[in-house]
């Protein structure tokens, strides 16, 4: 495969209409792209010792380098050696992933709600109107809802917190009363109470495993649907004195998931993993003002150190764990942590942090520019994660098949890298009030010294906590805030 990069084909005349003159000039005068050598050369510090980890790492770098260096024949690059986001193909790919899936998708039979969320979210990020899916989604979602509360991975399957989360987000994305009213909030609430465990965490389904996904998904569902926090007496966590509610102990549970490395594991005592970092921060941000809740429960400097370590050069995308490979999906799971953290550190009026984790005793300063290389992530996404064959869609890394999952999270990551969020000052110290739940988030495109992508590749911002567009989040929450009773 590598040898094909040696031969460079001249620009195809039929592409002229899509490309500006400069690009063509640049292509013919290779190698004149403005690509910092950071992204085209091996890292300065390397060990001689070969192990299976270093082997796969080296192979990955070899695979990515030609794409990062502007040597892929399928792409048209701009001056910075960055190709356009191939919206048309990705959109087509995503629409088809919502259609009828062939039998080889059998393994997805218990996670179809995820496919709905991934595809709808990815489409929404690219600015597509997904409300046309409302009617079909309403029918689909109804068939997956159980009378005992929650949604299963398909019709007549046990309710699962992750698939319920995915359905709720998908319904929020298509929007509208018909979509919102699909959800039986009362049975959902009592089911969540059943999942709540005495140690503060949540099982992912009745009798299922307990992990941090449970905490994040539950928190998102509770806030979006404005569910009460009270526990039913049948909840395993219920106490007669009424002091325990759905959010009790969640912060401590999250705290027990932070590891010695600073990252977050799926359940206490496991390895720090990118996907769970996002869940942890999201869960804490939904308990109250994240400027208070995050430092209260987490060692923030260690966490930031670990998150930052996930970005390697030259690939410049994120890995999910120490000594693991770059993967496009961590553009969201890891990359998506930064907008929230940067907003917490940099927004004016950050509340007093002193009461939190001992490591946060020192006031943490605002971020001068950005905690991660946005340029690097954008390069990795646009150069390495796009399937530029007819198939379209986004992927883990070159050589992997695109899919709805990666399309969603790669684009979410792109959105995080292109935008900057701010939190308005919080007027209250009490986390339980609506004022802290409905903090005012504002967003602007992030202005880098050098913007390496063309303006038309700017995607829509997504909420740093709910991972859907701000207006979708506000619409569903205000709908249920206005609603009396269930």
């Amino acid at each position: 495969m590598k040898s094909s990069f040696q031969q460079r084909s001249p620009p195809q005349p039929q592409d002229d209409s899509e490309t500006d003159e400069e690009c063509i000039t640049e292509r013919t005068h290779y190698p004149a792209f403005m690509i910092p050598d950071l992204f085209t050369q091996l890292p300065l510090v390397r060990d001689a010792l070969v192990t299976s980890t270093s082997q796969t790492q080296d192979e990955t770098v070899d695979t990515c380098l030609p794409y990062l260096a502007g040597e892929d024949e399928l792409f048209m690059y701009n001056l910075h050696g960055v190709p356009n986001l191939d919206r048309e193909r990705h959109i087509k790919f995503l629409h088809s992933s919502l259609g009828r899936l062939p039998g080889r998708f059998l393994a997805a039979d218990a996670s179809r709600p995820w496919f709905l969320y991934w595809a709808l979210s990815a489409l929404a990020i690219m600015g597509e109107d997904v409300s046309s899916y409302r009617e079909a989604l309403v029918d689909t979602a109804r068939g997956m809802q159980n009378e005992t509360g929650g949604f299963g991975g398909g019709g007549k399957q046990t309710s699962h917190i992750a698939t319920t989360y995915a359905i709720v987000l998908a319904l929020a994305l298509v929007g509208g009363e018909d979509a919102f009213e699909v959800i039986d909030r009362k049975s959902l609430w009592s089911w969540l109470c059943e999942l709540k465990q005495p140690d503060g965490g949540f099982q992912v389904f009745l009798g299922g495993e307990e992990d941090i996904r449970g905490a994040y998904c539950t928190a998102v569902i509770i806030r979006l649907l404005n569910l009460p926090l009270d526990l039913t007496p049948t909840s395993p966590a219920w106490t007669s004195d009424g002091t325990v509610d759905l959010f009790s102990g969640v912060g401590d549970y999250v705290r027990r998931c932070q590891t010695f490395e600073g990252g977050i594991s799926g359940q206490p005592n496991a390895e720090a993993h990118g996907a769970y970092a996002f869940c942890a921060l999201g869960a804490l941000a939904l308990l109250g003002d994240p400027r208070r809740t995050i430092p209260r429960y987490l060692d923030v400097p260690r966490l930031i150190s670990w998150l930052s370590s996930r970005q390697y050069a030259p690939e410049a995308g994120f890995s999910g764990r120490t000594n693991k490979l770059v993967d496009g999906c961590y553009s969201h799971w890891v990359g998506g942590c930064f907008p929230l953290i940067e907003a917490c550190l940099s927004s004016p009026g950050a509340p007093d942090q002193a009461a939190g984790h001992p490591a946060n005793a020192v006031r943490l300063p605002p971020v001068p520019e950005s905690l991660f290389s946005r340029e690097g992530l954008i390069r990795y996404i646009l150069c390495c994660c796009q399937d530029q064959s007819k198939r379209g869609g986004l992927r883990d890394k070159p050589g992997k098949m695109s899919d709805a999952y990666h399309s969603c999270y790669v684009l979410s990551g792109l959105s995080s890298a292109q935008h900057q969020w701010q939190l308005a000052p919080s007027g209250t110290e009490d986390d339980s009030t609506a004022a802290t739940v409905d903090l005012v988030w504002t967003v602007l495109p992030y202005l880098d010294d050098v913007q390496v992508f063309d303006q038309k590749n700017l995607v829509r911002p997504i909420h740093p906590v709910y991972a859907i567009p701000l207006h979708s989040q506000q619409a569903i929450r205000s709908y249920f805030l206005a609603k009396e009773g269930f």
Binding site: L44, V45, D47, L49, T51, L98, G99, R100, L101, P102, G103, L106, A107, A108, D109, R112, F115, L116, A119, E135, D139, T140, G143, G153, G155, Q157, T158, H160, F205, G207, G208, E209, Q258, T259, F260, G262, S265, G266, Q267, N269, A270, E271, H273, R302, S305, Q311, A313, A316, R321, T322, N323, K324, H357, A359, L364, P366, L371, F372, S373, G376
Partner: protein
């Protein structure tokens, strides 16, 4: 039921010999046997209606006079209502002509009959007579089997109702032999149906054991999004699963059903949960289930459900082990062996490692030298295996024997023994020396120092060994490990040597770890705040 048109016309008394006669036959002037049954029917049809085809083609007036007369006579002969209206003389004349011409009195009815299609979607009408007869033979065979099968079902129903045999007066009992015979019969029926019609029957519908279950189909709306086109066998199995789950049946057959579905789709969490319920309800030996699970796990490495299932099994088994240290140790060894085996295939499998830490906690084997040794082996194989490093940290610093409960992982623990901390610091240093740019042991080292309440500066000399001439502009600056530089920055900050710390961070951002410049710049800001 639609009126059944006769597939094959019966020979009629008045009909002449079936052999094509020298009399020109209207449709086919062939002398050979018709090639297909459709052609044969057409031939028979035309043969029973002399001159009709020609008349339709060219009109009655176009026929020779004798043929005209014959056609008219034939019409009258087989239309009693018209015939009786003829004067008696004309009737006699008619019969005379009929006798002379000896043409058939009865004509076959219209030929719009559809013969249907076979399994290959070919028209059966295109079959040769022999082939058609063979097919009809099979159909008859199938009908016989269906009748017998219905008989079996009825007997079984009667058995269920406690009905007595009319002849013997005994209660009807369906024997194993009868069930077996029925199973074979259904196999034959399925084979015949497949051969005749190409219909594939699910194995559950064929199995008499499942007769009492009415499968519940998926029932998805037509327009459902991302609907999966189920393979037929999966579709059937899942329909039976829904039915047995609804009636909360726990049985051996349900266990087998879950196995079938898990083989097809191990990611189906509902079926796993139901399987666990079966295992516990039937009080099956947990060890048998674990043995089965081992096989499944080895072919499905990336799967959440397998490991949660195992977790449930261990929770269930644990009370029987708790009072018996030997049993417990034996179990721990078996599990370790299996985990080692599975980690060979995927050394960083997150689910396996999460299960392993759960198991250590459940069995309370933190201090097990075998467990620690097993982890060391993995680190020796690949010193960059961060999962193994993480597990080691858990083994060493979560051991309740010397851990203060309730502390965060990055908080110092006064209960951490000095000798253990020292041992771990040495271990980490030794591994760092093998590959200084490997972040795992650096994170470990820092983690150990913090837990053990050691000053970071206790490793200043060690870390400095990987950095030469920092800040020199003469090209003598050399960094063997960016992680050493990172740690040195923290060490200098701890020692309040801000400028030195700042230099480390600046050089990281400027040269040695440029991708993280934003982070290093923020760290420099942190220095200012301190």
């Amino acid at each position: 039921m639609p009126p059944k048109s006769k597939a094959a016309p019966k020979p009629k008394g008045t009909e002449p010999s079936k052999q094509p006669t020298p009399t020109p036959s209207p449709a086919s002037n062939t002398t050979a046997v018709p090639a297909t049954i459709a052609a044969r029917s057409q031939f028979r049809y035309d043969d029973s209606r002399p001159h009709d085809a020609a008349r339709l083609k060219i009109g009655l007036a176009g026929l020779p006079r004798d043929e005209q007369a014959a056609w008219i006579s034939a019409r009258f002969a087989r239309t009693p209502a018209a015939r009786t209206r003829l004067p008696p003389k004309a009737q006699r004349e008619l019969w005379r002509q009929v006798n002379e011409a000896s043409f058939p009195v009865r004509a076959l009815r219209g030929s719009k009959h559809s013969w249907g299609r076979d399994r290959n979607e070919s028209e059966v009408s295109g079959y040769s007579a022999e082939r058609f007869d063979e097919r009809e033979g099979r159909r008859a065979q199938l009908t016989c089997l269906e009748v017998a099968s219905r008989g079996f079902r009825e007997r079984r129903e009667r058995e269920g109702k406690g009905v007595r045999d009319i002849v013997t007066g005994d209660k009807i009992v369906v024997t194993e032999a009868e069930v077996e015979a029925e199973r074979i019969r259904r196999g034959e029926m399925a084979a015949l149906r497949s051969e005749l019609y190409g219909t594939v029957q699910g194995s559950f519908a064929l199995d008499p054991e499942w007769d009492d279950i009415v499968p519940i189909p998926q029932g998805e709306p037509e327009a459902a999004l991302a609907a999966i086109a189920y393979p037929a066998d999966y579709d059937e199995a899942i329909s039976y699963l829904r039915a047995v789950m609804l009636k909360k049946e726990y049985s051996q057959r349900c266990l087998r059903l879950t196995e079938t579905i898990i083989e097809m789709n191990p990611a189906h969490y509902t079926v796993w949960l139901y399987r666990a319920s079966n295992v516990f309800a039937l009080k099956l030996p947990i060890t048998d289930e674990m043995e089965w699970l081992n096989k499944v796990a080895l072919v499905n490495l990336k799967n959440y459900q397998i490991w949660h299932h195992r977790h449930l099994l261990v929770d269930n088994l644990y009370p029987t082990l708790a009072g018996n240290p030997d049993e417990l140790a034996r179990f721990a060894t078996t599990e370790r062996k299996f985990l080692t085996q599975i980690l060979v295939q995927d050394t960083k499998n997150y689910h396996v490692w999460s299960y392993r830490s759960y198991l250590v906690g459940k069995l309370g084997v933190w201090g097990s030298p075998e467990e620690l040794k097993s982890i060391e082996d993995l680190i020796d194989d690949d010193v960059r295996n961060n999962s193994a490093w993480s597990h080691r940290f858990f083994l060493v610093f979560s051991d309740p024997a010397h851990t203060t409960p309730g502390l965060a992982a990055t908080e110092p623990d006064p209960a951490a023994p000095q000798d253990i901390t020292d041992r771990e610091v040495e271990y980490a240093k030794e591994k760092i020396n093998l590959a200084p740019q490997n972040q795992s042991p650096w994170n470990y080292l820092k983690g150990v120092l913090v837990k053990g309440s050691q000053k970071l500066s206790s490793v200043e000399d060690f870390a400095s060994g990987f950095v030469k001439g920092l800040g020199n502009k003469d090209g003598s600056e050399a960094v063997q490990s960016t992680h050493a530089l990172d740690l040195l920055a923290e060490i200098y900050a701890e020692k309040r040597e801000k400028e030195k710390a700042d230099l480390c961070l600046r050089r990281l951002g400027e040269k040695w770890d440029r991708i993280r410049i934003g982070y290093w710049e923020w760290r420099r800001k942190c220095l200012e705040e301190a």
